[in-house]
């Protein structure tokens, strides 16, 4: 449709300049991906197998090109790299990606810089599902036990809070406040039940449940990486397509309606995709904290708050962040620690730094008039 404002001035210079700024934003993502490739080598060489940093890339290259060594040591190294380290590295990268992208979307649609993928209670639901399996041996799907039971329960229960919000939004307007408060209510309920089960669990189960709640990527294998990858791909593509609408949702709901957007409906759609993809990712690893909160804020400093660029930038940075966190987690102590400890330990102070250093760029409030 022709606009009355189509032909007035020559704006080619301004448009070129605008597009140039976009390419600078794209550079941030490219740098993150490049750094993630470095982290891949680190992730592989860290550990007891004695594989060198450069050697790790050689082993990957040899495997891809079909030049798998024939000597026993070579075969062993190839197996360690290909069956243990690579799935773990990919898993960490994709989970970081999912958490960061959903975190960025949640912050905008909730109009709240404290929002993260777990704001609506996903992690508390997953935690309760996991302890049901770990402490009581109960699984929603009969006949399944052990790790798989934990995964299935965690996935199912982590969807319950979002289900509650979606149901409530049918009767009450789905404002961001309604959603945050519902999430809080559900979170306390699940936490109480989880605490109760933790009290009665025997010490060994107690430790397993505890590690699960912190979050660890140690259990990622080729068997489950397909789900984790699928979650990341769906999250990134969906949020990127919705980016323009997410920008509008960061304003008032009346504003959104005036621009032709039903804010309540779009918010619920984004919430559902967040719940499904985050639940899918963390049910294999436990609720890894801080990545979904921190990554979008760091990305914001470099690319600004326009979700069209913030979403992909958060994805790249979040993936990279969790990968480096896991490298660090592996090298702490003799046996390493769950990655959730590192993301919290590094993420907390980093978050404070970001907050004080760049407060203005990240968040503003009450600037109306």
């Amino acid at each position: 449709m022709v606009s009355r404002f189509d032909d007035m001035f020559d704006n080619s210079g301004e448009i070129r300049q605008y597009n140039l700024r976009i390419s600078k934003k794209v550079m941030f993502g490219v740098i993150c991906i490049a750094l993630a490739l470095v982290a891949l080598g680190l992730e592989i060489c860290l550990g007891k197998a004695g594989i060198g940093f450069i050697e790790s890339y050689t082993i990957i290259w040899d495997h891809i090109t079909g030049n798998i060594p024939t000597d026993p040591a070579g075969i062993q190294k190839d197996e360690i790299v290909w069956n243990l380290r690579i799935p773990r590295a990919l898993g960490a990268f994709f989970i970081g990606m999912t958490l960061a992208v959903c975190g960025a979307a949640m912050q905008s649609i909730m109009k709240n810089p404290l929002a993260d993928p777990y704001t609506t209670g996903i992690s508390s639901g997953a935690g309760f599902g996991a302890i049901l399996a770990i402490a009581l041996g109960f699984c929603l799907v009969p006949g399944i036990s052990g790790y798989n039971a934990t995964v299935i329960n965690a996935f199912a229960f982590s969807l319950l809070p979002t289900l509650a919000i979606v149901l409530i939004s049918r009767y009450k307007r789905a404002t961001s406040t309604t959603m945050i408060l519902t999430g809080l209510g559900v979170m306390y309920t699940f936490s109480a039940m989880t605490s109760l089960l933790m009290l009665v669990a025997d010490p060994e189960d107690h430790k397993t449940a505890y590690v699960w709640n912190i979050g660890t990527v140690g259990a990622i294998t080729w068997d489950n990486i397909i789900y984790i990858t699928a979650a990341a791909v769906v999250a990134v593509i969906f949020m990127q397509i919705m980016a323009k609408k997410i920008n509008i949702l960061a304003m008032s709901d009346a504003d959104a309606a005036a621009l032709g957007l039903d804010a309540g409906k779009v918010r619920v759609h984004i919430l559902i995709v967040t719940a499904l993809t985050v639940a899918m990712a963390v049910s294999f690893t436990g609720s890894i904290g801080f990545v979904g909160l921190l990554a979008p804020h760091v990305a914001r400093i470099f690319v600004g708050s326009d979700n069209r660029y913030l979403i992909p930038a958060s994805a790249a940075f979040g993936g990279m962040l969790l990968l480096y966190s896991d490298c660090l987690a592996k090298s702490v102590g003799v046996t390493g620690v769950p990655v959730g400890v590192v993301t919290a330990a590094v993420g907390g102070p980093l978050f404070l730094y970001v907050l004080f250093r760049h407060r203005k760029k990240i968040w503003s409030r009450g600037n109306a008039h």
């Binding site: 007035m8 301004e14 605008y18 700024r21 309606a257 409030r365 600037n367």
Partner: protein, 269 residues
């Protein structure tokens, strides 16, 4: 372009806000809605672009009942400039205005949208602000950016909720003057809520005076802004004089002020 409202009413869960609204605005012109606080002025314009759904009656835009139109279709015809806009995560001015293109473009804006945005920024002489963060602007600049966003919707009808509140007198005159010129130069039906009766009367082609959820008077500024109307609606005594062909209100005192406003009467000297 035409807004035709018939027997419309609106209420928030049984509390009536608007009653018996009948209004017909036809063709490009500059219309202002005036009236005391809480009479439903904002509610009325929110019913014109489906931000709120009337509880009775119809709102027709260009002959079509907006009750049956998708929000996005309404947004292509009716632009909106809000009273306040909280931008939690501030964007640049260009990106803020670019959001106005939203009803027209697909999943992301392209160079043509960008071209339209820059044209509007230049037309309003705010292209120097293009890359500034939205939250760092002054009230006057802020208001012009929101006006630019409303224009970026490329509407036939532009609704504005108190676009001149919080502006100094120079900016009030400037923004209102721009709106009047836009209605002429770009065939726009501009509907603005205003609290400044004199500035509204100076520029408006038509004025709508509201009282307690109903339309009290509609007509030219001279027909609407009269001493008796101001007394009946606002409860204020005034003198209306002619200023270059427009009515101009000189305020006196609230009706009944002689007895004092605090209960118990005026304090003794």
């Amino acid at each position: 372009m035409r807004i035709k409202i018939d027997d419309m009413e609106f209420g928030y869960s049984s509390v009536p806000v608007l009653n018996d609204i009948v209004l017909d605005l036809d063709g490009p012109q500059f219309v202002s809605i005036i009236g005391p606080n809480g009479v439903g002025k904002s509610t009325l314009i929110h019913c014109m672009n489906k931000v709120l759904k009337p509880t009775g009656g119809t709102v027709m835009i260009n002959g079509a009942d907006i009750g049956g139109m998708p929000l996005k279709e309404v947004a292509k015809i009716v632009g909106y400039v809000p009273y306040t806009s909280t931008d939690s995560f501030p964007l640049s001015v260009v990106d803020t205005v670019l959001m106005g293109r939203s009803p027209h473009n697909g999943w992301r804006p392209d160079d043509r949208d960008l071209n339209i945005v820059y044209n509007i920024l230049k037309m309003l002489s705010i292209d120097d602000l293009a890359m500034r963060p939205f939250n760092e602007l002054s009230a006057g600049q802020h208001q012009k950016v929101m006006l630019a966003r409303g224009l970026a919707q490329d509407p036939q009808i532009l609704l504005l909720d108190e676009p001149t509140s919080n502006l100094d007198i120079r900016h009030q005159l400037e923004v209102t003057g721009i709106l009047k010129e836009l209605s002429r130069a770009h065939d726009l039906l501009v509907v603005m809520i205003s609290h400044d009766i004199n500035i509204a009367a100076k520029f408006s082609d038509k004025m709508v005076l509201m009282k307690e959820g109903t339309i009290f008077s509609v007509g030219t500024p001279a027909e609407v802004v009269t001493e008796s109307n101001i007394r009946d609606v606002y409860g204020v005594e005034c003198e209306v004089i002619d200023s270059d062909g427009s009515p101009h209100v000189i305020l006196k005192m609230p009706v009944g002020w002689e007895k004092g406003i605090l209960p118990g009467g005026r304090a003794k000297e």
